[in-house]
């Protein structure tokens, strides 16, 4: 029994055909480190603003980890819940566009039919430059 659990645990990252690697996998420890939080905040531009938020993330991961208990030996991974659907192919005709005015209305700042953005990506401040936040 324990051998099978160990085998499933080892199998997960090796997987079948190319699968995505995840840098945020805490290796089943359930603890999210400050480095992982900082990494996620930069990648996804989300704000884990409180300790409760981090705790909720840890619980979510633990919940998803229950999947590892399932025996998937010899089962092809499902790549898409749409796998039985037909991918619709559209004819190569021009049927939309020409609505610059409408689109530009969504923008806070506009210059002569261009959207306006800051000069470049503004890097987030480093962890130690931020407000002190009690990551445990």
């Amino acid at each position: 029994m324990w051998a099978r659990a160990l085998w499933l645990g080892l199998r997960a990252p090796l997987g079948g055909p190319r699968c995505f690697t995840s840098k945020t996998d805490p290796q089943g420890s359930g603890r999210i480190t400050a480095e992982v939080i900082e990494h996620l905040e930069r990648l996804a531009l989300v704000d884990f603003g409180s300790r409760e938020a981090v705790a909720r993330l840890e619980k979510a991961i633990a919940f998803a980890d229950l999947l590892r208990a399932v025996d998937t030996d010899g089962v092809e991974p499902m790549e898409s819940v749409l796998e039985d659907r037909c991918l619709y192919l559209r004819s190569d005709n021009v049927v939309e566009g020409n609505c610059a005015d409408e689109l530009l209305q969504n923008s806070h700042r506009v210059v002569e039919e261009y959207f306006v953005a800051p000069p470049g990506n503004i890097p987030l401040p480093k962890l130690d430059e931020q407000e002190p936040f009690p990551h445990s």
Partner: protein
């Protein structure tokens, strides 16, 4: 739980290539001592530093460079990859943008059939295996010209894999021969183009035009089988001709329809591969060769002076003729690839697997596309050489102008005889030419007889000129040597 913050992350850049052992450039590696192999008439300033690097320093053995290319070609189609807005080079800003291209909530991608056909055609032309099932993924990074915050691409399972691209390098001034070389095609994938950013440094802002956002791209990834700027430039040129012959892309680098990024590293043959750098912002084939050769030389100099190469992205500065680091403060990008949840797998069929009751508009038959492939440039060149007795290097030049001449209503055969491009068959006439050239240049003849090895090349050159380049240089040499009783 978490509230999205409206700030900006970092520009995403391309991912890693798998390296395999690289060979050495034909010009440098040959222990057999072949002569310089330059495409006739072309000279590159970057060649000079390479020669210097070849002189052994501190007893150092030779360097070998490894070059891998990622090429993005804009698909020639009426509408975009996942939306029905128009594909056009110049138009008023944001006038060719649909709600989906602007990433408005609630919009969904709808795949353009023409783009899939273009990808299959290109894959077949490059001898690829076409994957009957391919998948779409999201590649996430933040930048103002990527409104969705991700690009739809094919990272897990692209539409075509394991192909090859054959190109020809001129070998030696006298020979006029063309050496065929091959670079392996790792994969071809369909993906979206991003919009365009115009940087207004004066007012500290960026102006964004999304006309290009969502245009279909073919990304062609080449294995690192290339070893210098000339090989890379020639391979890209050949790919350009193929895409133009197929009609899948106009591949005009000046208009941004063909973009190339190069991955460059150096190592001593037999030792493990070196750290690679990525070179971007290459706007022409000439600059592509220049930038790669500069980067190879820079890496060699750096390593020979005891420095190290950083795994970074560099930009090529045309005016300075050098590469400059674009290094962001942030560490390596994590693109958080995930399957595109709104698109089922793309299934392709062939004659045997085609479902009988299928709507022809909704299925793509690989065999049918294969039958529709036009004659590829390499085949045309071969045909010109065989059918009209043309010299191989002329077939390269001729092909480039083929489009022009087609419009004038002439056949290649007519052009060859009009321009007198056939190989000179009459040996007697050739002997006459040799004799008169020698008569007109007694000094050169004397140099040859004195034993100057380069003098005979001068004579050969003069004879070639006199025959309007119609004679085989090897035959000229043989006749001259006979007439000089060497």
């Amino acid at each position: 739980m978490a509230a999205p913050m409206l700030r900006w992350g970092c520009r995403g850049r391309r991912w890693a290539l798998a390296w395999v052992d690289g060979g050495s450039c034909h010009r440098r590696g040959a222990p057999t001592g072949s002569t310089s192999n330059r495409i006739r008439g072309q000279s590159s300033l970057a060649q000079q530093p390479l020669r210097t690097a070849q002189k052994p320093r501190k007893g150092e053995h030779k360097w070998a460079a490894v070059v891998g290319l990622e090429i993005h070609a804009q698909i020639s189609s009426n509408s975009k990859l996942f939306s029905g807005s128009q594909v056009r080079f110049s138009a008023p800003p944001n006038s060719l943008v649909s709600f989906f291209d602007a990433s408005l909530p609630g919009t969904l991608p709808v795949l353009n059939r023409r783009c899939v056909e273009a990808a299959v055609m290109t894959g077949l032309a490059l001898n690829c295996h076409i994957n009957k099932k391919s998948l779409f993924d999201r590649k996430h990074y933040f930048y103002a010209d990527l409104p969705a915050g991700y690009q739809i691409t094919q990272q897990r399972l692209p539409i075509a894999v394991n192909g090859s691209l054959t190109y020809g390098i001129s070998a030696g001034k006298e020979r006029g021969q063309v050496i065929p070389k091959t670079v392996r095609v790792k994969q071809i994938q369909l993906e979206q183009d991003s919009g365009k950013s115009l940087h207004d440094d004066l007012r500290s802002q960026t102006l964004v035009d999304l006309n290009r956002a969502g245009v279909g791209l073919l990304e062609v990834v080449l294995e690192p089988d290339l070893s210098c700027g000339e090989e890379a430039a020639t391979a890209v040129r050949e790919l350009q001709l193929i895409l133009q012959a197929l009609g899948t892309s106009q591949a005009n680098m000046a208009e941004g329809q063909l973009r190339v990024d190069a991955n460059v590293s150096v190592h001593h043959p037999g030792e493990p591969l070196g750290v690679r750098t990525e070179v971007k912002n290459l706007n022409s084939i000439r600059f592509l060769a220049k930038a790669i050769d500069y980067e190879i030389q820079r890496q060699i100099s750096e390593l020979e002076n005891g420095g190290e190469i950083l795994n970074e992205t560099r930009s090529f500065h045309e005016k300075l003729g050098c590469t400059v680091s674009m290094r962001d403060k942030e560490a390596k990008q994590d693109y958080r690839f995930m399957p595109e949840p709104n698109l089922p797998p793309l299934l392709l069929y062939d004659a045997t697997s085609l479902p009988t009751d299928a709507d022809p508009q909704q299925v793509i038959n690989i065999d049918q596309i294969r039958e529709m492939l036009p004659e590829l440039p390499s085949v045309t060149r071969e045909r010109l050489v065989q059918q009209y007795g043309m010299l191989p290097e002329h077939s390269f030049t001729l092909l480039v102008f083929e489009e022009l001449w087609k419009r004038e209503g002439k056949t290649p055969g007519q052009i060859v005889s009009e321009k007198q491009l056939e190989l000179m068959q009459d040996r007697g006439a050739l002997e006459q030419f040799c004799y008169s050239v020698m008569k007109d240049h007694p000094q050169v003849v004397m140099d040859v007889k004195k034993g100057n090895p380069r003098a005979i090349n001068k004579l050969i050159g003069l004879v070639r000129k006199a025959t309007l380049n119609r004679a085989d240089p090897a035959m000229i040499k043989e006749i001259l040597e006979k007439q000089l009783s060497l």
